[in-house]
């Protein structure tokens, strides 16, 4: 059944609709929150709080809006409030990157894929996940929304409440920082 129909049923207080929505969004929402706060226990708590907030606010949800964006905005607000309370420093804007003009990319060799690359894929992804966890919150957020949730730039702008140009700029910087972090962790491009 479509999300819209579940939302309409939830507005009438139908618990089954809520169950279906939670099941449908569980992985995406949990992953997003985990990328934001990095601690599974905190992500779980925020996951619960997000759905309680959904129940509380569903009547004020404008049905013409995108439910995905609304849900992730609620989750985001809760995560940011939580981070502000627990670890205010984690919300700091990153400092200007002096390395941006460097040709870090040139130092990372571009290899053709070999069977060995495929065998090491899982290891590479773990390395990327770990490097991603070391990025500032807003960079982790834009990466997970774009690549893992496959949201369009317009949807990301809606969730994060910033202009399209800012989303693009954050996306570019987050990719650059991630690449730099990977290169710093695994010199010689061993992560590739």
């Amino acid at each position: 059944m479509a999300v819209d129909a579940d939302v309409v049923r939830l507005r009438r207080g139908d618990l089954n609709a809520l169950s279906e929505l939670i099941t449908r969004y569980q992985n995406r929402l949990y992953r997003y929150l985990l990328r934001m706060v990095r601690q599974p226990a905190e992500a779980e708590d925020l996951f619960q709080q997000t759905w309680l907030r959904v129940v509380e606010k569903i009547r004020s949800f404008d049905a013409s809006r995108n439910f995905d964006a609304w849900l992730f905005t609620l989750a985001r607000n809760l995560a940011i409030d939580h981070l502000r309370r627990i670890r205010p420093q984690s919300l700091d804007e990153p400092l200007a990157n002096s390395w941006q003009s460097e040709t870090v990319a040139d130092r990372i060799p571009c290899k053709d894929h070999t069977p060995l690359d495929h065998a090491l894929a899982a290891e590479r992804r773990t390395e990327i996940s770990e490097a991603m966890a070391g990025l500032p919150m807003m960079y982790r957020e834009v990466l997970t929304l774009r690549f893992e949730d496959e949201m369009k730039i317009e949807e990301i702008a809606q969730v994060t409440a910033v202009p399209l140009s800012t989303v693009k700029s954050r996306l570019r910087r987050s990719l650059e920082q991630l690449r730099y972090a990977l290169e710093a962790r695994y010199p010689g491009g061993t992560w590739q």
Binding site: I22, R146, F147, E150, K168, L175, L178
Partner: protein
């Protein structure tokens, strides 16, 4: 900033499929004629590709059940709250109607038997008003006490 540098800045976004179709076309044209940018784009692509395939952390089944249970409690609480509000509105409206109706009845009765009641009229009227005010006051106090108790119970739960 040279044209080359401008395109170079767009390469990460190109790998992320985050360019407009016009930008995409321009970048593609530039990359065809620029080996450095072509290599750079080639270096971005594996990272973008791996990011799309990162393992998805799974929430525990306990979390889902617990979330559903809490949400159910919240829904029930909201439904109860809505019901209480509706009942309160009806009760208040009924109380007002009753008071107005009883006042009208009282006027009719006092008009018909005015001569009999005349000596005690002011006393009876004051008693009636005092009784009504007392009833409203008691009702209000009871409502406040109930709300405080209910809130306390919810907090403990």
């Amino acid at each position: 900033m040279s044209e080359h540098d401008k395109f170079r800045e767009l390469l990460a976004l190109a790998a992320a499929d985050a360019l407009t179709s016009a930008e995409e076309k321009q970048v593609a044209e530039h990359v065809r004629s620029c080996i450095a940018c072509s290599d750079e784009l080639g270096a971005w692509r594996p990272l973008a590709s791996e990011l799309r395939r990162l393992p998805t952390p799974q929430p525990s089944s306990w979390l889902l059940q617990s979330t559903l249970a809490r949400a159910e409690a919240k829904l029930t609480e909201q439904a109860e709250h809505d019901w209480n509000r509706r009942v309160l509105i009806v009760v208040v409206a009924f109380a007002w109607l009753l008071m107005i109706a009883s006042w009208l009845v009282f006027r009719v009765v006092s008009g018909r038997f005015g001569s009999l009641l005349e000596p005690q009229f002011s006393h009876t009227w004051i008693s009636f008003a005092a009784f009504t005010a007392l009833g409203w006051l008691a009702g209000g106090v009871a409502a406040v006490m109930l709300a405080v108790r209910q809130r306390g119970e919810r907090r403990l739960a």
